[in-house]
Subunit: 223 residues, 2 copies
DNA sequence: GATAGTTTCATACAACTGTTTGAATTGCAA
DNA sequence: TTGCAATTCAAACAGTTGTATGAAACTATC
């Protein structure tokens, strides 16, 4: 076990390079050069390139998930088992948004890495993401408790849309800035969180979709 | 020019393989094998692998964009220059959703290819996507005309969230199905379109975000 | 201070990649 | 038919990739 210095140097270098240049453009040789380490060290310490990526992603994922669940649990305890839906949604999307948005120069390497992981979906990461469902189920449960009159379908759609707005905004933050000519301020993270939470709350608490049928008919007519 | 047979055989085979297995796993040799064509034919007809991918993506993109603009224009003409916001949003997200969702076995190769293009963001495609902003600007304009009392910032956020819900639902359709244990029916495309349009409409027409401050304060207290 | 186990290192390997080459073939016009 | 351009083809090229090897260096234990 010795010093572990090599191991952590590889992890740090890999995360930095992946964050900066993406998975496709970074080779093991780039990583070991950045880490001032021998090429064979990667396979010695991690087994393979994919396992290195997986370890990076898993580490960051559990950190985010822990943060999410911590916020959720605190809210539910305070609310006697039923947290307000806004607070649940905030616990769901807040940590990720706060980590990945904000002024570019103070965005952490970890956050930039997670953005890459969300943009360039590489096999080892995809495998891990598929196991994230149990984690989401906990939020679905909390949402159901918060909105007992809503059907499961509505809960899941609300959850889906909340994640959609958060992740898409992160992924396409550059494009939104360009499109809006800077009018949408993505550095004001708490504003973004508030917007996402607000819309998701409306999606979950407004009249059921079936009540929106008029809009549907209207659109059909317009064709 | 001769027969063009080789050229279109390559395009068809490439689209099919990319749709099925993703960009990362398909080599030129796979493509020429599938197309029963010589390896050098790709570089002869397209110049490079990236240009082949770009041509595929551009073709499909203009098709979708044309469809979107056709719906939009029709609605604006009928409304005398101002289309209802629901119809605009439907024109924005409808074509993509209809192409990429629905029963798996009847999803076209083209649609499956576009899903891949949205999941695995490969360099040539990313370059093209960045030029899609002008296209989105047309929708922003229509939305502004439809909702003259809304600020630009609100319009752009609404546009962003509408695209977010549509694209994320496509990208993560498998996960949503699994998470909801099939309760969310992604094969009912028109239902999905209606949900997305309905939430986006609420986002654009409901009270301003600032009015949501209570929710924000609430969340702060809960921490 | 010898030994056993861990870690580092230079180097080679084997496979795969997109691309190029130059000759063979085809199709069409004169 | 002849000639010429467009197309196809087999083969090789040049580069890169992740991984494996076996010797060397180190570290801690007895």
């Amino acid at each position: 076990m010795a010093s572990d210095h090599t191991r952590s140097a590889i992890l740090a270098a890999a995360e930095r390079l992946y964050a900066d240049r993406g998975f496709g453009d970074v080779t093991l040789r780039d990583i070991v050069a950045e880490a001032n380490v021998n090429l064979a060290a990667v396979n010695y310490h991690f087994g393979s390139k994919d396992e290195l990526i997986a370890e990076l992603f898993v580490t960051r994922s559990i950190a985010t998930n822990r943060e999410r669940l911590h916020e959720l649990k605190a809210a539910e305890v305070q609310g006697g088992g039923r947290a307000p839906i806004e607070v649940i949604l905030r616990a769901l999307v807040g940590p990720t948004l706060r980590g990945c948005l904000g002024p570019e120069n103070q965005r952490s390497t970890a956050a930039r890495f997670m953005i890459r992981a969300s943009i360039e979906s590489v096999p080892p990461i995809r495998r891990i993401k598929n196991r994230e469902i149990d984690h989401l189920r906990k939020f679905a449960g909390a949402m159901r408790r918060s909105l007992p009159d809503r059907s499961d379908v509505e809960i899941y759609w609300g959850l889906n849309f909340a994640l959609a707005m958060a992740h898409h905004t992160i992924r396409e933050s550059e494009r939104l800035t360009k499109l809006s000519e800077g009018k949408c301020d993505l550095d004001d993270v708490e504003d973004v969180v508030a917007r996402v939470v607000s819309v998701a709350t409306m999606a979950l608490t407004a009249g059921k979709v079936e009540a929106m049928a008029p809009a549907r008919a209207l659109a059909r007519d317009a064709r």
